[in-house]
C-alpha cells in the first residue's frame, strides 16, 4: 500500500491505496463521495468524469496514485457555497437535462469544463465536448439545451423534446 494525498473540492485528503486503486475507487470508496459514478468502467461513458488539475478526466481510467499532489474536483464541489445548485446544475433541472440522473454528474463536469474556456458555445461545440459522455435516457437534446441556457444563451425557441 502507498500513501496518497490530494486536494478534493478544496479539502486536503489522504489515504492508503494499492497501485491498482483507480481514482474513482478512491473517491467513492475511501472518501465516500459517491456522486462520481461508474457507468462502464471501460473508459467509454464519462459517468466518472472529474477535473484533475483543472482538466476533465475519466476517473476510472486513472490510478489514484497518479493524482497524488493534484487538485481534484467532483460533482460534490459544484454547488454554490450556500448549498444551492450552481448555474449549470440549475439549468439541467430547469430544462429537463436529466431523467434517471446516472450520467448527470459526468455531464455537469464536462459542461463546466467546456464553459471554462468557451463561455458561449454553439450547439455543435457542446455536442462535440460531450463526445465522451453517454446518456441512455434523454437523447441529449435537453442536456445540450441546458448547457446553452447555463451559458446565458436564449433557448426559448428550442422546442422541449
Amino acid at each position: 500500500m502507498s500513501n496518497v494525498t490530494m486536494t478534493v473540492n478544496g479539502k486536503t485528503v489522504s489515504g492508503s491505496v494499492e497501485g491498482r486503486t483507480l481514482l474513482v475507487e478512491f473517491i467513492r470508496n475511501d472518501l465516500h463521495l459517491t456522486g462520481t459514478h461508474v457507468g462502464c468502467d471501460t473508459s467509454q461513458c464519462g459517468a466518472c468524469a472529474v477535473h484533475v488539475d483543472g482538466k476533465l478526466a475519466k476517473a476510472c481510467t486513472m490510478f489514484a496514485l497518479e493524482a497524488n499532489g493534484s487538485e481534484v474536483s467532483t460533482i460534490e464541489g459544484q454547488a454554490n457555497e450556500d448549498g444551492s445548485l450552481n448555474v449549470i446544475q440549475q439549468a439541467f433541472k430547469d430544462h429537463h437535462g436529466l431523467q434517471c440522473g446516472f450520467c448527470t454528474p459526468g455531464m455537469v463536469m464536462a459542461a463546466a469544463d467546456l464553459l471554462k474556456t468557451n463561455s458561449k458555445p454553439t450547439e455543435l461545440e457542446i455536442r462535440e465536448h460531450l463526445e465522451g459522455n453517454i446518456c441512455r435516457c434523454t437523447g441529449y437534446h435537453n442536456i445540450v439545451k441546458a448547457i446553452l441556457a447555463a451559458s446565458g444563451q436564449d433557448v426559448s425557441n428550442i422546442a422541449a423534446e
Binding site: 502507498s2 494499492e18 497501485g19 491498482r20 483507480l22 468502467d41 471501460t42 473508459s43 464519462g46 468524469a49 482538466k55 476533465l56 478526466a57 475519466k58 481510467t61 486513472m62 490510478f63 496514485l65 497518479e66 497524488n68 464536462a110 469544463d113 467546456l114 465536448h129 463526445e131 465522451g132 459522455n133
Partner: protein
C-alpha cells in the same frame, strides 16, 4: 486487474532504470493500457508512470524547420499548439473525446500501434522520426503490423520529429461507437513528394498507399485517383464495415484529403 508496484520517476534515466525490472511496463496516459489491464490482457508487475517526467513533454521547432513533440505530450497539447501543421491539429483534436485527449499521449499512441489509431498515419505520412532512449527510427521502419513496432522491450519514445509538409490533411471516417478511425487517411505534400498513409483499413496496420502517392506526385488532384480500385483482400472486415466497404472508403477519404489539404 492484478496488482502491481507503481513507480513515478521524475527523470528519463530513473524511468529507464525502473523499466529494467522484471515485467515492468511504461504507463503514459493510460487511456489504452488501463482498460487493457482491467481485461487482464496486460498484467505488468511494475508500472512505470512517465507522466511526471517534464523533459518528455512539450513541443518545439527545430533549426531545420521540423517540429519535435515530446513522447509524453498529450493530444490536447498537440491540438492547441501553434507550431503544429493543419493535418496534425485536426488529427489531435479529433482523437476520442476531451477527457481522453487530456491524458492520452503521442508516445503511447505510436508505441501501441493500434490498427485503427490516428497518430501512426500522421507519423508515416509525414515521414517522422521516432526518437527513443537509444536510437532514432524512421516511421517507415517503425510500424511492423497490428500492435507491432520496432521498439525493443523497455525502450521508450522520448520524442517524435515531424518534417513540416507544405500541405497536409487528415480525413477520418469515425467508427461511431469507439471513436477510432474506421478508415483514416493522412496526406502530406512536400515540395518534391506526396505521401499518403492509411489507418483503420488494413490487417497489417497502418500502410502507405504508394499507388496513390505516385499518381499524386504527377498530378496533385482528386481526379488522378478516381479510377483506382483498391483490392479488398487484406483489408479489415468486421461488424462495422466489410473489406469491400473499407477499400472503397480508403479511396473516398483520400480524395477528400487531396481536396481539403491546407
Amino acid at each position: 486487474m492484478y496488482n502491481f508496484e507503481f513507480k513515478q520517476p521524475k527523470t528519463i534515466s530513473e524511468a529507464l532504470n525502473a523499466l529494467k525490472s522484471d515485467e515492468a511496463e511504461a504507463l503514459a496516459g493510460g487511456q489504452t493500457l488501463i482498460p487493457t489491464m482491467k481485461q487482464r490482457l496486460a498484467s505488468p508487475a511494475t508500472l512505470v508512470s512517465l507522466s511526471k517526467i517534464s523533459e518528455m513533454r512539450g513541443i518545439c521547432k527545430n533549426d531545420d524547420g521540423s517540429i519535435s513533440i515530446g513522447g509524453g505530450t498529450t493530444h490536447a497539447d498537440v491540438a492547441a499548439n501553434s507550431n503544429i501543421f493543419p493535418g496534425l491539429v485536426t488529427l489531435a483534436e479529433n482523437i476520442g473525446d476531451p477527457a481522453v485527449r487530456n491524458r492520452g499521449t503521442i508516445g503511447g499512441s505510436l508505441a501501441n500501434n493500434d490498427p485503427a489509431a490516428c497518430y501512426p498515419a500522421a507519423a508515416l505520412s509525414a515521414g517522422a522520426t521516432i526518437v527513443t532512449d537509444s536510437r532514432e527510427i524512421s516511421a517507415d521502419d517503425f510500424f511492423q503490423g497490428m500492435f507491432e513496432t520496432a521498439l525493443e522491450e523497455s525502450e521508450i519514445i522520448l520524442s517524435v520529429r515531424f518534417p513540416v509538409p507544405s500541405l497536409s490533411s487528415y480525413q477520418k471516417f469515425v467508427q461511431p461507437a469507439s471513436r477510432f478511425a474506421m478508415v483514416g487517411v493522412f496526406l502530406s505534400k512536400f515540395e518534391n513528394e506526396t505521401r499518403v498513409a492509411i489507418t483503420g483499413a488494413s490487417e497489417e496496420g497502418v500502410f502507405r498507399w504508394k499507388e496513390a502517392e505516385r499518381a499524386l506526385n504527377e498530378d496533385f488532384s482528386e481526379g488522378s485517383i478516381t479510377d483506382f480500385v483498391l483490392e479488398p483482400s487484406g483489408m479489415i472486415g468486421d461488424i462495422h464495415a466489410s473489406k469491400e466497404y473499407r477499400a472503397h472508403l480508403v479511396k473516398v477519404m483520400t480524395k477528400r484529403a487531396v481536396k481539403s489539404a491546407s
